[in-house]
Amino acid sequence: MSEIRPEERLAAALARLILAPDAPPARHIAVGAASPLPAAACWLVKKQGHPVRLSLLHKRSGNPFTEGTRELFDLTGQGRIDLFFLGGGQIDGQANLNLVGTGAWPGKDVRFPGSFGSAFMYMMSHRTILFREEHSPRVLVERVDNISANGVNEPGVFRRGHAQALVTGKCVFAFHPARARFSLLSLHPGETVESIRAATGFGFDAPDQVPQTPDPTPAELELLRGPVCDEMLETYPEFCARVFDRKIAA
């Protein structure tokens, strides 16, 4: 096996979170984020033989929805979406997400594209995995400038699920909704608790011993580079070329 690429480690880490035994089962996952890594993680889980239904919103052909884009939100409202992925231009220590922009509302400083369905999906999916490759004080802030989607709610507000974890290019955090705080779950190679603190704008908990994020197993690597890449080639050709050195046959 050739060298493990950082993206392969992230995909495997995400896949392990999807399958986490203490989380509710992921029977139906919707992947709407533009990033190909959550999609790769979902395909890895599926190619490992787990019976999971994937609704890939960026797939060009065979769009799974026949009511237009409304159907994803209706599905989620029905409680049929077990897991969703979200990112954000800013993410804060209470797992609030800012997809609107920095500065005064609605993003007078730097405007991001917008909140998409986050204000609904984050509350109505059974769980959400947060993913943002860039791990910097610019992105991981003490308090987001604007809340597109909030990490927790006041008691008495109907909410089906919360963030399970936040995966970045440097580490994996677990999120604890009851105390609205992240804790360090694992460190990617080369990182320490101190390096994470230096790169993170929000406070977080850390156990005495933080394990390293495991390498993908040879079996996982084989799946990622073979059948997972096969499924992703049409939708994410640049990603497959960069990470797996694979191109669509002309």
């Binding site: 993003g107 917008g114 998409f116």
Partner: protein, 276 residues
């Protein structure tokens, strides 16, 4: 029986200041009609992205046609942030009413059903709600216990729905397959202006294979033929996204001068007009 009108006549029928509902770049926007609106010099348009806005909206904003936009996002997808939208937000020349996708669908569904509001879960705790004085939180009258606050969203009935369909039939029905948000937009809107690749014989409603993907002519105000009318956006299985065209736009539209040059070349200039 609907007789197609010209693209320019269709653009002329959209008054300045109209509230226009547009589907996103994955769901059959009529880029051809958006270009015609730029050519006619439309002003003060209010756009509704259903549920997000893309290439056509950014172009209309850049060309100075737009006063307000209500949407869950404006994005060029793979090509990145929408440059003219971002510039207008920075300059403060555009009123932005931020929304979230299912809220757009819900407000249109309320209009589709003829009810003044519809509830939606989620949203409570988001600054989107905090910035929408037109959205209301009530106690759920069906709550098992406690207040159970829930958001009510008002019906929204756009003045004009604008989208592109694969084809129209002799009776004025239009077919666009699974992109059913366009049906909801048409149902909710006062008028629907639809561009199509072609007009064909027969009646789609008589064909069980086509009927489910058809919008009844009763909702369709006018039809205009615009071949490749979604370009550079994809049209079902008929043509794909022209990613190079969008990337070129994204690059040029980073500056106002670059956008002006792009507009002259692709929309306003003699070569652009000849290509329509």
């Amino acid at each position: 029986m609907t007789t197609p009108i010209s693209l320019e006549a269709m653009a002329a029928s959209v008054p300045d200041g109209a509230l226009i509902a547009l589907p996103p770049d994955n769901s059959l926007p009529s880029v051809a009609l958006a270009k015609a609106l730029v050519r006619r010099g439309a002003r003060g348009l209010r756009l509704l992205g259903v549920p997000v806005a893309g290439f056509a909206a950014d172009m209309l904003i850049g060309a100075g046609c737009v006063a307000e936009i209500e949407t869950s996002a404006v994005s060029l997808g793979e090509a990145g942030f929408a440059p003219r939208f971002s510039a207008a937000v920075r300059a403060g020349t555009l009123v932005v009413r931020d929304c979230t996708c299912p809220a757009v669908h819900t407000m249109l569904q309320a209009a589709e059903k003829g009810v003044p509001f519809m509830p939606l879960r989620g949203l409570i705790g988001s600054d989107i709600l905090a910035h929408r004085p037109d959205w209301t939180v009530i106690a759920n009258p069906y709550a098992d216990q406690g207040e159970d606050p829930i958001v009510l969203l008002p019906a929204i009935s756009p003045d004009v729905a604008i989208f592109h369909a694969a084809m129209a039939d002799a009776d004025g029905n239009v077919w666009l397959g699974r992109r059913r948000e366009c049906a909801t937009i048409a149902h909710a809107s006062k008028r629907a202006l639809v561009t199509v690749e072609r007009v064909v014989e027969g009646n789609f409603l008589e064909d069980e294979r086509l009927a489910a993907g058809t919008i009844n002519a009763t909702y369709v105000t006018e039809i205009a033929i615009a071949e490749r009318g979604a370009h550079p956006v994809a049209l079902l299985d008929e043509y794909g996204t022209d990613a190079a065209y969008v990337a070129d736009y994204a690059r040029m539209a980073k500056t106002e001068a670059g956008f002006a040059a792009w507009l002259e070349r692709e929309v306003l200039g003699p070569r652009a007009a000849a290509a329509e």
